[in-house]
């Protein structure tokens, strides 16, 4: 039946073409259901867990290529240097504990996170639980959030 074939062709074409269109509302729904602040807090927690297990692959995704990471030893570490530290286990985290987390969002594409940390860590043989105040800046590029800056201040040293 030629008519049936026409119908089949039209149906098939419509399905193939409609797939990307159907994808768009899914992304929108995700944005609607999870506010940016919730997304950032979730990402921050995921990044913490990646640090805890020394997951270089995950951290490589979370951190922007131009990440700037000033530490309290007077160094501004790059992403490559930070990943090398994680890979070499120079920086070992035992327990993560973050409190007083605040997220501020600007233009829908930039988020600043601040928090208070009593994370138990070992850095170059020195064990510390803080407390530390940290800040992190996340930006959204090409549809995904990445950390572009991170800094902490060790309150226990004052």
């Amino acid at each position: 039946m030629p008519m049936m074939k026409v119908v089949k062709t039209v149906a098939l074409s419509s399905m193939l073409i409609a797939l990307p269109v159907l994808r768009a509302p899914t992304v929108k729904a995700d944005d609607d259901t999870l506010s940016i602040k919730e997304q950032i807090i979730r990402l921050q927690n995921e990044e913490d867990r990646a640090l805890l297990r020394g997951d270089v692959e995950a951290l490589d995704r979370f951190w922007a290529d131009d990440l700037l990471y000033p530490n309290d030893n007077g160094e501004v570490l790059t992403k490559t240097q930070r990943l090398a530290e994680v890979r070499a286990q120079t920086h070992n985290f035992s327990i993560f504990r973050h409190d007083d987390i605040r997220v501020r969002v600007y233009n829908g594409t930039t988020a600043v996170v601040t928090g208070y940390s009593t994370t138990l860590k070992k850095y170059k043989g020195h064990v510390s639980r803080g407390p530390r105040r940290f800040s992190a800046v996340w930006i959204k590029r090409d549809g995904r959030w990445q950390m572009v800056a991170h800094q902490r201040t060790d309150a226990s040293r004052q």
């Binding site: 030629p2 074939k5 026409v6 062709t9 039209v10 098939l12 074409s13 419509s14 193939l16 073409i17 409609a18 990307p20 269109v21 768009a24 922007a64 131009d66 700037l68 000033p70 530490n71 309290d72 030893n73 007077g74 160094e75 501004v76 501020r104 600007y106 233009n107 594409t109 930039t110 600043v112 601040t114 208070y116 170059k124 020195h126 407390p131 530390r132 105040r133 800040s135 800046v137 930006i139 590029r141 572009v148 800056a149 800094q151 902490r152 201040t153 060790d154 309150a155 040293r157 004052q158």
Partner: protein, 195 residues
């Protein structure tokens, strides 16, 4: 459906001799039917793209100039300029791990509880991400600590030792272009300690 073949593009009647022609027609039929949907997809994906700065170097120059202005305003205790440069949601994370809002930071400087006698910046790195800029660098400062404040961690004072204080610190400044001008949204300063 047997008229002019040019007007029967989607006719799918099987005929062994016409098979190549029919296949070509089917292909063209799919393409033609797809065109409106392709246009629809293109429209759905046409999201507003963030304004891309044509010249990252000019943004870097502008931010470097603002950094100079900010530093000068701190030393001069020029609160009007500082108020302009800081975004309303500005956050300051200080060397004693205190976190201050814009109003608290301005109040701290106004009260002269903390005054900058000298401030030098070195090793400035500026990274531009469209309408967001990250700056990091090293501060060498001389401060005059005039008294106690109430904006330390947990509400406690963080001015333990009033008097003159000199030291080196690393800092991060974050800027966002808001209402057409660059505004600082975050300043985080950490004293460099020797291990």
């Amino acid at each position: 459906m047997t008229g002019n073949p040019h007007w029967n593009l989607c006719e799918m009647r099987e005929n062994f001799h016409d098979r190549p022609r029919i296949m070509t027609r089917r292909f063209l039929c799919v393409i033609l039917l797809s065109l409106p949907a392709v246009a629809l997809v293109a429209a759905a994906d046409a999201r507003p793209t963030p304004q891309k700065d044509p010249d990252t170097e000019s943004v870097k120059k502008e931010i470097t100039r603002i950094e100079q202005q900010y530093k000068g305003a701190l030393v001069a205790n020029d609160l009007r300029t500082l108020t302009t440069l800081m975004a309303d949601d500005f956050l300051y994370v200080g060397t004693n791990a205190e976190i201050l809002s814009k109003a608290q930071r301005i109040a701290q400087l106004r009260s002269k509880a903390l005054a900058y006698e000298a401030l030098q910046q070195d090793d400035l790195r500026v990274v531009v991400y469209g309408d967001t800029v990250i700056v990091s660098g090293r501060n060498t400062s001389t401060l005059q600590i005039g008294g106690k404040g109430s904006w330390g961690p947990g509400g406690a004072s963080h001015f333990i030792n009033p008097g003159r204080l000199s030291g080196n610190a690393l800092f991060t400044h974050a800027y966002v272009r808001l209402q057409g001008r660059w505004q600082m949204i975050l300043e985080h300063v950490t004293y460099i300690t020797e291990d």
